[in-house]
């Protein structure tokens, strides 16, 4: 498939549909997170970008000077790739405080960090990908969450499988719990063939949703 840039592969309506699916997935995840946390969770995705892996690294390293922590899961099915929920390391303890509430000692917080991150990541990534898969009438198998630390370039150059994809769906997420801002990013890496499948599935989804009214 010949493309000049990845962002041009999806047309405007397909990108709109993808953004809608992501927002619905994230909204549902917010509901589950609220159940876990016990207080209102503000979660929204103001923007979805489709970029080449090299650009994704630039964007992330440009915005985040320090080290990053990510919850990583592999997804497999008609579309295959990796999904990551990424925070600056400075935010991850904020996340634990927000999610666990109450006054915990620094020791306890550090001990709970892995667990809190893994749970939150699992809910968000599964919620997001699960909803997208359902609405596109496909199923995806998700691996267990794994915590990874490093800079952008390391997160985007993990050991296969799967092979490093070049397509990145880059989501900025605004995430607030208990007045703590823990905004971060969700990225989904896939390869060009998976993007082509995604494009077809989005097309079918748009047809179903609009009964052809969109054309």
């Amino acid at each position: 498939m010949m493309t000049s840039t990845i962002s041009e592969v999806l047309n405007e309506l397909e990108l709109d549909a993808l953004t809608e699916l992501v927002n619905i997935g994230v909204s549902r995840a917010a509901f589950s997170l609220r159940e876990m946390v016990g207080e209102q969770v503000h979660l929204s995705v103001p923007a979805v970008d489709l970029v080449h892996r090299v650009q994704a690294i630039e964007i992330l390293e440009g915005r985040e000077a320090g080290s990053l922590v990510a919850v990583h899961q592999v997804f497999e099915g008609d579309i295959t790739g990796r999904a990551m929920l990424i925070f600056p390391e400075t935010k991850s303890l904020e996340l634990v405080r927000a999610v666990t509430g109450g006054e915990l000692s620094l020791e306890d917080i550090i001990e709970l960090e892995q667990e809190a991150l893994a749970e939150t990541g699992n809910i968000l990534l599964n919620g997001c990908l699960g909803t997208i898969a359902n609405m596109l009438h496909r199923s995806l198998r998700m691996s267990l969450p794994e915590i990874i630390r490093g800079k952008g370039s390391e997160l985007f150059n993990l050991e296969p499988p799967p092979e490093a994809g070049d397509v990145v769906m880059f989501l900025y997420i605004n995430f607030t719990v208990r007045q703590r801002d823990i905004s971060g990013y969700i990225v989904m890496l896939m390869d060009i063939p998976s993007l082509a499948v995604l494009k077809d599935l989005l097309g079918e989804f748009i047809e179903r949703a609009t009964d052809g009214m969109a054309s």
């Binding site: 509901f31 979660l43 748009i206 609009t210």
Partner: protein, 127 residues
């Protein structure tokens, strides 16, 4: 003059889907669309709108904030907030401005309750 519904959502696809569900339930009603809160408020100041369907998750001003603003100038207008994010606190906020929740993704079935309730109120002259 036909009953006019304002559909507010930043997603064009979502507006099409909402329009389609509405047309299936009330083919005689008119629809007008807005892509954000500012546009919506502009439309409301220019013409008569009978009911509003508003996406919760919009940048800048979210659907509940817009609903609250509309409620202050239109105390009796039937307002639905469309969302997949039905947290208790969000439900409570919707109750405060007397807005109904409708689940996203939007379907004819999901919209039916709100639309029939609104239709009855409009017909009976309660608004």
């Amino acid at each position: 003059m036909a009953i006019t519904v304002l559909i507010v959502d930043d997603s064009k696809l979502a507006r099409i889907v909402a329009g389609k569900a509405l047309a299936a339930l009330q083919p005689d009603w008119d629809r007008i669309e807005a892509g954000n809160a500012k546009e919506a408020l502009g439309i409301l100041s220019e013409r008569k709108i009978d009911l509003a369907m508003i996406d919760f998750n919009m940048p800048e001003k979210n659907g509940l904030e817009l609903a609250a603003e509309i409620r202050s100038s239109h105390p009796m207008m039937p307002i639905a907030v469309i969302t997949a994010n039905i947290q208790d606190e969000v439900i409570a906020q919707a109750r405060e401005v007397n807005a109904t929740f409708v689940s996203k993704p939007l379907t004819e079935e999901g919209l039916r309750g709100f639309i029939s309730g609104a239709a009855l109120r409009l017909r009976s002259g309660a608004v």
